[in-house]
């Protein structure tokens, strides 16, 4: 059993909360005391059924109080999979929230109100999903009960969406007609839409394959910590601790340490009381090298045959996340895996109007702005392009005056 992380995106009142509530309720993922609280609540739907949106309600209250809640996480599990839902509320800061939620998700559910079809917000949500390079997209056409469960309405929306998806390079898209309120095709297959041959939403979520990239060409392990017991019997012990970000390392692999460029071979891989022959993406291990070389936190181990780019000048997409606008005269901190160094935004190439996807010229970025910039870093970074290897292609910007995380960067090209 593995974990699928997904997020839901939709405009206000498309039925996001109802959909999540329905998913939890029908998959029997609600605990007894939560259920009692739900039943005790006096909020009911028009037909007297429980308002399932209450399950994600904490967030609505906060929205009203103006609290910055970018993502709330929900957990549920079926016999096939464990799920982590990133629920991203907040409308003013929607971009920031959705980018945060999407950065950790394998899949996005994009909600469309069957009565409205593909609207401006749908374009925006889909753009963000493609920007963050999510593996899978599910378009859930909701409120089918309000369009008489019409196959034609559904097909037209699918056609419209496909046209847009092609422009955004979204390839793995599935389409499901649902009614979150009535429960059609959420967990149980719908009896009202026998024309639909596909899976219910939960069935899809349970079976969609989430692959990890464990090719040797993307073998990357950022060093987090060096284990040196310095006891008598372990006098020469020196283990490099980290989590394999992508790809796979094996004992006897030739490796290079970046940015220094020193080379060695892996002599041993340790995991507590085990010595695995291989460490692949996602594993936290301790690596030993045949040679004594100078390595510290912030360095990256890579397969010697497949080096990432090492550069101090990087073209990147930037999503601005702070209420203070970006200031090109400032020096920011950039955190890329275990490496933190200073940087400047040396050039702003364009901003994107995320409702029309037009590129517009710009000098600065305000909260929720997205666009292309060139970053100049104090120390070189060993990175991959985000679209090719997410795990080594993203970074955050930190304002050293406030220490807040102010920007998300997706590396797109070496600008050197």
């Amino acid at each position: 059993m593995d974990i699928l992380k997904f997020l839901t995106a939709g405009s206000v009142d498309d039925g996001k909360s109802t959909l999540i509530g329905r998913l939890l309720y029908d998959s029997e993922s609600i605990l007894q005391d939560q259920l009692e609280a739900l039943q005790a609540s006096n909020r009911k739907n028009d037909d007297g059924t429980i308002d399932l949106a209450i399950l994600t309600d904490g967030l609505k209250a906060e929205r009203e109080q103006g609290i910055t809640i970018d993502v709330a996480y929900k957990y549920f599990q079926t016999e096939k999979r464990k799920f982590i839902i990133a629920d991203t509320p907040g409308h003013i800061q929607y971009t920031r929230n959705m980018v945060t939620g999407a950065s950790n998700a394998d899949l996005a559910i994009i909600l469309i109100d069957a009565r409205k079809g593909v609207i401006e917000q749908t374009i925006r949500h889909s753009y963000l999903v493609s920007l963050l390079a999510l593996q899978h997209v599910v378009v859930a056409v909701n409120k089918m009960d309000m369009v008489d469960y019409s196959e034609e309405v559904f097909n037209n929306i699918v056609k419209d969406y496909q046209a847009m998806a092609a422009k955004l390079n979204l390839n793995e898209v599935s389409y499901i007609p649902v009614s979150a309120l009535k429960g059609d095709n959420i967990v149980h297959e719908s009896v009202n839409m026998i024309w639909y041959q596909g899976k219910s939403l939960l069935d899809h979520l349970e079976t969609v394959p989430v692959a990890i990239d464990d090719s040797t060409d993307h073998a990357r392990m950022p060093i987090q910590w060096i284990i040196r017991p310095q006891t008598e019997e372990l006098h020469d012990y020196r283990g490099y601790a980290g989590r394999v970000a992508s790809g796979s390392f094996k004992v006897n692999d030739a490796i290079t340490v970046l940015p220094s460029g020193f080379s060695s071979t892996i002599s041993k891989i340790e995991f507590f009381d085990q010595e695995p022959a291989e460490a692949s993406a996602g594993m936290s291990v301790t690596v030993h090298l045949a040679d004594e070389i100078d390595i510290s936190r912030g360095d990256t181990l890579v397969n010697a045959k497949y080096l990432p780019t090492v550069s101090q000048l990087i073209e990147a997409d930037l999503c601005w996340m702070d209420t203070k606008p970006m200031d090109a005269s400032l020096t920011y901190l950039i955190q890329h895996n275990s490496k933190t160094t200073r940087c400047k935004i040396s050039d702003v190439l364009h901003k994107v109007n995320i409702n029309t996807l037009d590129k517009v010229s710009a000098e600065s970025f305000n909260l929720n702005d997205i666009g292309r910039v060139v970053i100049k870093t104090a120390d070189p970074l060993a990175f991959d392009l985000y679209q090719e290897n997410k795990a080594n292609g993203g970074a955050i910007l930190i304002d050293s005056r406030t220490n807040l995380t102010v920007g998300a960067l997706m590396f797109r090209a070496n600008a050197d």
Binding site: D2, L31, K74, R243, T405
Partner: protein, 301 residues
Amino acid sequence: MSKNKLNYLDDLEAEAIYILREVAGQFEKPALLFSGGKDSITLVRLAEKAFRPGKFPFPLVHIDTGHNFPETISYRDEMVDRIGEKLIVGYVQDDIDAGRVIEQKGKNASRNSLQTVTLLNTIEKHKFDACIGGARRDEEKARAKERIFSVRDEFGQWDPKRQRPELWNLYNGKIHKGENVRVFPISNWTELDVWNYIRRENIALPSIYFAHQRDVITRNGQLMAAAKALNMDSEDVIERRNVRFRTVGDMTCTAAVESDAFEIDDIINEISESKISERGARMDDKVSEAAMEDRKKGGYF
């Protein structure tokens, strides 16, 4: 050239180890808050996996209310002996004696809220800049939106209006002097995940987690251990029942549930049948819906 993701427990474990190593790498003086409960016991095992054969780059810190279950304290001492790591204990009694806090009176008196003060004093005294805790997001609504690295100001307060976005697995641990960060490596674990992990790793737990015979009284509709700390009087009827505890907090605020779960497998079955969520068994949360949020803003774990 791709294969499936790690098994979910391996995945959660690897993530937690990664987070612990980030703490080691990013902070000068971290600490691991050890409550004696199953979540912090799990953290200790994860720390062993993250740092052995080296020492932990942090001490364990326990806030002792003086009303802990004796089983928890003896478990703690045996464990510290076994792993050979440093333990720092902050005593709520010391703050009471020094007049820094005033003990509640009456039947429902609890030292639970006082431990926040002792915790903050302990953090200040040792100048800890990061405190690792075993909170999980599935425990309670207010925790669902908690960050993995959560910044607290000098007064231990959590400001929900200034939370930092957490992107990918990049945790921003930059803080100003006087601030500290609470770090939650098992944020993404559910109660069931923790139990499954404990079973898989064969981790010993304090005996109160398992069904046993105990004298209990009923307070506010919940079963409580019949202990001196509960200020019992003639109205309290002591009964002997088969119970276990789902959390090991202070005796004054940790309710027992009737149970025949003598073995870990029984417990896992009991939870899988999902009767009542874990925090449903803690009286301090019942006080108000927003209780957790308020305590968090005030510096509680």
